[in-house]
Amino acid sequence: MLTVAKNLGLMTSYFRANLGMAMEYRVSFITQVLGMALNNSLWALFWWLFFQNFPSIGGWQYADLLVLYAVVTIGFGTAMSLMGNCNRISRIIAEGHLDYYLALPENVLIHVLVSRMDIYSVGDIVFGIAVYIISGSVSWFNTLLLLAASLLTAAIFVLFAVAAHSLTFYLGNAETLASQLFNALITFAMYPTSIFRGLARVLLFTVLPAGLIGLVPTELIRGHHLQLLAFLAAAVLAMGIIAVSLFYRGLRRYESGNLISIRL
């Protein structure tokens, strides 16, 4: 319990410091946030145009897609705001910057993850909240479900990135491979899962868990199937065990490059 509180404290301190740094350039921060929200809005526009021609795709309507976008963007935004280093782990390992984290009395993985914030991702959260409001699904209960589903989705994004980038411990610099896997996860998650069938559908719930990010939370909010929330939480737990094991087993193979680096 004490460890959890300590890690939460570390996360909060870094978040405050990162946000403070971003707010130092206030105009740039606001421009980037609004720019990202506008960028996402153009995706919503594409789907609006698509659904103008075809009212339903495999049982999905435009409102369902907006809920999907709300969950995915809030989840992604939360993941990258709190743990923005998750997609840079390969580089940190390959360039020997892990030495810095190993020398400090904090949880290595959590410290690596929280020490960077992706400013653009705040725009994803703003967009996610906006599309949730216009999706027509707003209620107190749905908002609670959205919050829970988005947090679990954020955890899936981070854990998947940790697992993919930990391959660098085993394969050498796996940055390109990990980036391709992460991009594939996001890409598949942003389309109605009902269009995928057979083996592709199985893969989307196992190797590349885009179904857990897209379909499960959307069905949870659309149909109030609370067992799906439990299923999602169990999936996050399983992914957590795999990702953390991969990282710490890999860490045993890590060799310092005697690189002297300065963190400002």
């Binding site: 980037q32 609004l34 720019g35 995706w43 145009l49 698509f50 103008q52 075809f54 890409t187 269009i195």
Partner: protein, 282 residues
Amino acid sequence: MRTDLTSVAGRSAIGRLWPWVVKYPEVARTNLQNQLVYVFDFVWRSIFLLIIVYIFTQLWRTTFSSMGMTSLNGYTLSQILWYFMFAETIVLSHPALSDTIDAEVKQGSVAYALTKPYNYVVYNYCVFTSEAAIRWCVNLLIGCGIVYAVTGEVACSPQGLPLILISVLLSMSLQFCLLMAIGLTAFWLEDTKAVFFIYQKLLFILGGMLLPLEVYPPAFQRLASFLPLRFVVYGPARLFVGFDYHTWLAFTAAQLGWIFVLGGLVALLYRLGVKKLNVNGG
């Protein structure tokens, strides 16, 4: 791979025109050779093309079957997939030019380029088009393989291919002007990434990458007709699945017109930007 441009200049005797005839093609040729070294890296990066073509195949198959359609605004399912693949290869082939310019402006390394015996914009054009050409060839080969495997037929117009190649080259030039203009805004903005992301999505939608423009409501078609984006993607992709000479001629004239206008804009932005440049230290 290194070529001594000075010696090339020394050998040439065509006066003021020599840079255009010798130097810049030499820059393009050198960069092309450099890029050929990384051809397998491009193949590796084509995995995204595989994924996105697969997703759109599933999307269009589900849509056609759930709506009971055999064609959409004149496009059959196969044509739509070939169209999408071709459009995607154009979009995926451009190097991250605006990022490069943005970084050079912010780090001040653009100042070094000013002292070199070449025009910064034309030099970047040669580098951009040579790299984009290699990427496009790799993407097209892989894309054709994927769509053929999925559809089992070739729903494109091979008779127009030589002229379509010209359309693609002009599309790359147009894309260069747009990306260069975005990159050069770094002289005034702190970060151009947000502008690039918005441009990219506009290219996806109003450029006709995700959907052929005929599918849009009339108001959007009219909006797209005022912009150059449709000549970057929609024009070449439309010709690829249904070539006709008169349409090609109209598209080519429009592409040249837009290149002229946007090329002027880039030259203006560059001149204004360089005046704002402050270099501190060495």
